[in-house]
């Protein structure tokens, strides 16, 4: 279980990374925390000819406020985000998500940018950044661009990143007042990939009606799966138990597209999605009413 031969670079600046990516194109892979890439290389499932290790670049692990939100450098480790007081205060959904990701050992090394660029449909961060309408700053030798989460994740382990692109920063906007959130997932063991999971964000208007709703599923399709029709059901309505049941039913039976594998059938995953959506919406609603 040793990787195939590869060339190794450890640049110390983003511009050097961009030069290397430009030079090697599809042959190059960026190594951030290595929690997905290294196992895949050891299994020889991927055999990049060039590895560009970005761990030596300073100043990519910041967490700071920016206008109406926060910005994170791509090399922020999961544990750093988990313990960060700014995230706890400003992005409580992200704060609650972090301990549900893998194990402490993986969170110590794994990076936020790495997880997002890897774009595993069962990754919590992929669903949660989609639910929070995060934006991603991408650089290449030509310049930089901001891409919203809804356009960043494009398919199975696929993002809009081109071979010469590097994800450098993530921006997460504040939720409006009277918003509530929830992340619910079911995994065989706490650190396993979830059989299914859902991130819910609800915003209420002054009359306690649902102003906007977002339901994003993990392990439910090729990428983060947004249940748009279920959200439409909720929109403008007074949240009730019946409404929650109807929305959960809609999302679980009509919108998500989970697969079969040895851990769960698609049928069981839809059942779980239904249960979890009900629980997530109920919790998000409580929180929205509480004004948190």
């Amino acid at each position: 279980m040793k990787p195939a031969p590869f060339e190794y670079y450890a640049p110390t600046s983003v511009s050097e990374v961009l030069e290397l990516l430009n030079e090697h194109g599809y042959d190059a892979k960026i190594l951030a925390g290595g929690q997905s890439l290294i196992p895949m290389m050891n299994f020889r499932l991927v055999q990049p000819a060039v590895l560009v290790d970005i761990n030596k670049i300073p100043n990519l692990s910041y967490i700071k406020t920016h206008e109406n939100g926060i910005r994170l450098g791509a090399m922020v480790r999961h544990t750093q985000a988990e313990r960060d007081s700014l995230i706890k205060e400003r992005v409580p959904l992200l704060h609650e998500t972090m301990p549900q990701i893998a194990t402490i050992q993986i969170r110590n090394r794994g990076t936020i940018g790495g997880s997002l660029a890897h774009a595993d449909a069962s990754a919590e961060l992929v669903a949660v950044t989609t639910a929070l309408e995060a934006r991603f700053k991408i650089q290449n030798l030509e310049g930089e661009r901001w891409v919203p989460a809804s356009e960043f994740f494009v398919g199975l382990l696929m993002t809009s990143l081109e071979p010469e692109d590097m994800l450098v920063e993530i921006e997460i906007p504040d939720l409006p007042a009277r918003s509530g959130w929830s992340l619910k997932e079911v995994a065989r063991r706490p650190h396993d990939f979830a059989l299914i999971g859902v991130a819910a964000v609800l915003t209420l208007d002054k009359k306690d009606r649902c102003q906007s709703a977002k339901l994003v599923y993990l392990s439910a399709g090729d990428g983060p799966l947004v249940a748009e029709e279920a959200a439409v059901l909720l929109q403008g309505q007074k949240i009730s138990e019946d409404l929650i049941i109807a929305a959960a039913e809609k999302a679980a039976t009509e919108e998500i597209d989970p697969g079969n594998d040895i851990h769960a059938t698609a049928d069981f995953r839809r059942h779980l999605a239904n249960v979890l959506t009900r629980r997530a919406l109920a919790e998000a609603y409580q929180r929205a009413k509480g004004g948190k």
């Binding site: 279980m1 040793k2 195939a4 065989r188 650190h191 040895i262 069981f268």
Partner: protein, 782 residues
Amino acid sequence: MTYKVIGKRVKRVEDPRLLTGQALFVGDVSLPGMLYAAFFRSDYAHAKVISIDISQALEIPGVVGVYTAEDMGDDWEPGPPLVSPPPTLENVVFNSRRQVPLVKGKVKHAGEIIAVVIAESRYIAEDAAEEILVEFEPLPAVVDLEKCLEPGSVLVHDDLDTNLAAHLIQNKGDYEGARKEADLVISRRFHLDRGAAAALENRGIVADWDEKNQHLTVWDATQSPIPIRNGLAARLGLRTHQVRVVAPFVGGGFGPKIMMFYAEEMVLPWISMKLGKPIKWIEDRRENFYATTQEREQIHDVEMALSKEGHILGIKQKFIHDTGAFNPYGLTTPLNTQSHSMGGYDVQNYYSDLTVVFTNKTIVTPVRGAGRPQGIYIVERMLDIAARELELDPMEVRRLNFIPPDAFPYDHEIIDQAFATLIFDSGNYEPAFDKALEMLGYEDFIKNEQPRLRAEGKYVGIGIVPFVETTGVGPYEGARVSVEPSGKISAATGVGTQGQSHMTAFAQVIAEQLGVEVSDVSMVTGDTAEFHWGTGTFASRGAVVAGNAVNAAAGDVRLKVLKLASKILETPEEELVLEDGMVRVADKPDQSISLGELALLANPLRGAVEPGTEPGLESTKYFGPAFGATAFGVHGMILEVDPETMMINIRKYITVEDCGTMINPLVVEGQIHGGVSMGIGNAYYEKLHYDENAQLLNASLADYLIPGSTEMPHIEVHHANTPAPNNELGTKGVGEAGAIPVPAVFAQALENALHDYDLEILETPLSPNRLYELLQKKEDNS
């Protein structure tokens, strides 16, 4: 017997080395000029090998050699048959087919080795293995335990006209007669699935042929270095003294590292001799899932006849055991199932029909529990079902059927894995069972706690299951104990150590006999250069068989010490005491001599050794029991299930363990904790998923789910003590006990939690997905 050191909670003397990374594992062995091996393994489970092209692999710089079956010539032969069927049984069909060092002709399970690459590094060896081109003709795979016996089935072994590996019937009393008398006869079909042992350390070998010295040293992560040494010498045409096998610290055995003679164990020493170089191979986790043995897949059709009061009148079972592609380990595992399908109950009529089949899956040999969990599962499940049908308290039904304490030794009149009659040497079951019910607050839980939780919308259930474990079987083990001139004690035994705390427990036995500190004893295990008679660590036998050999040797040294001291101190032996490394005259503490001085005097530089005596204060002794020591225990759990998500949380876990005399309760508890975690895996998490091509779909620890610390409940252990009557220490084995009853406890507790659903669980493991399917089926039927 009152002991000073035996039975004390002595901290493990091996831990400082292990915890600071100073202990030697095979992976730590590094020799000058060492080469590394990587294997080209078949991805197909069943395929003809048409051609092998190694030419491109040989061209990679750093590659030293590539070997296939053809290169082995006459040295190519299958592994030895390790355990034959019991010669005492009549009408046994047994087709012996053993694993091969390198595939010739046809691949019989995925992971079999086609070629070996030897290179200057493991990286280069793996690069080169990727360049080997093999043309296969894939064949349909034999997977299903029943279909494989149908006429016209594809055959695993073409030289047999069947996939039948073995068939035998064991009978006691007259089941059919008993059935006629019965008030209730229940029959059920059980499916028990396959799991991995998944030791933390995979297998590993360093083979070093020293041409000038004409000597082969093999470091092997094995449970049985002595049989490996003997086998290697025989296969390689060497004298036994030319081969040394060392099993250093081994990170978990659990059965698959028994004297298997794996392909790698046969091939690498052979290549080392060809090249005159040391060769190292450490199994990676993916290899482990394909190439290291597994266990538990069985289908049982069981019938139980009972009186309306709940007395078991008889049990009849017909079961199929999957041995995988080969059966080097004979019938040990299914014989254990046969022996444990009556549990600790007084069953007078028993009929057990065993069929063993070959399939294109990884080889099956014992894994911690070794057939026993299957036996306990079916008898305990049947009792739960019977109690429901008879509307009796399931706990009362068990009490009613226990073998009473005055019935021991209890002869079960069938043959067990040791080829002897299955005799339970001793036991006192009911007090241990009562204790378990008390620890879990059974009555209060059923009467008050459960209804209260149910009213809160919580589905919480209780399960309590007794079990037996036959342990400590022969043939024998030995030990050597000697007093050094320093006064310290050196000792050695042939069994290897894979975490069983031998260095502490055996030292306690010696310290007890010789009146020294545990830390004064240096214990060597698993090195044929130190001790070369014995078999190995398996069948929960270390503390019983090796433990009593150590005790006998230390006891003999004690006699020698007393004899010599008596002469020197001019005091009768019976007035001498051994304490603090000294021999003292009992009532005159100033008259004494140290063990070190005595050791010097016993090995004088001048003067002859008198006829009939030996130099030194040393003794080698052996222990071989006629039959095993039967341990007993009870496990109980309280679990909660979320009937929406099907996720299960074990809230409480208790055990009552009776393994006779405990040498060290800490060690016993550690064994139980580890065993229970394996059992929880077998009950809920761990399943090897083979598809219709006999391809393993979850050959990684990401997909093969092992319970870790986050899944483990707190385990409360209570010790009962019924000493084994047939060995001096009174010990019974406990290494496998923890794993044995867990699936049965889990099923009972889960049914109890979901009693509204009237669920019947007849399979293990049971995943949330499977639970969902069972509940859906219930819903569809109603």
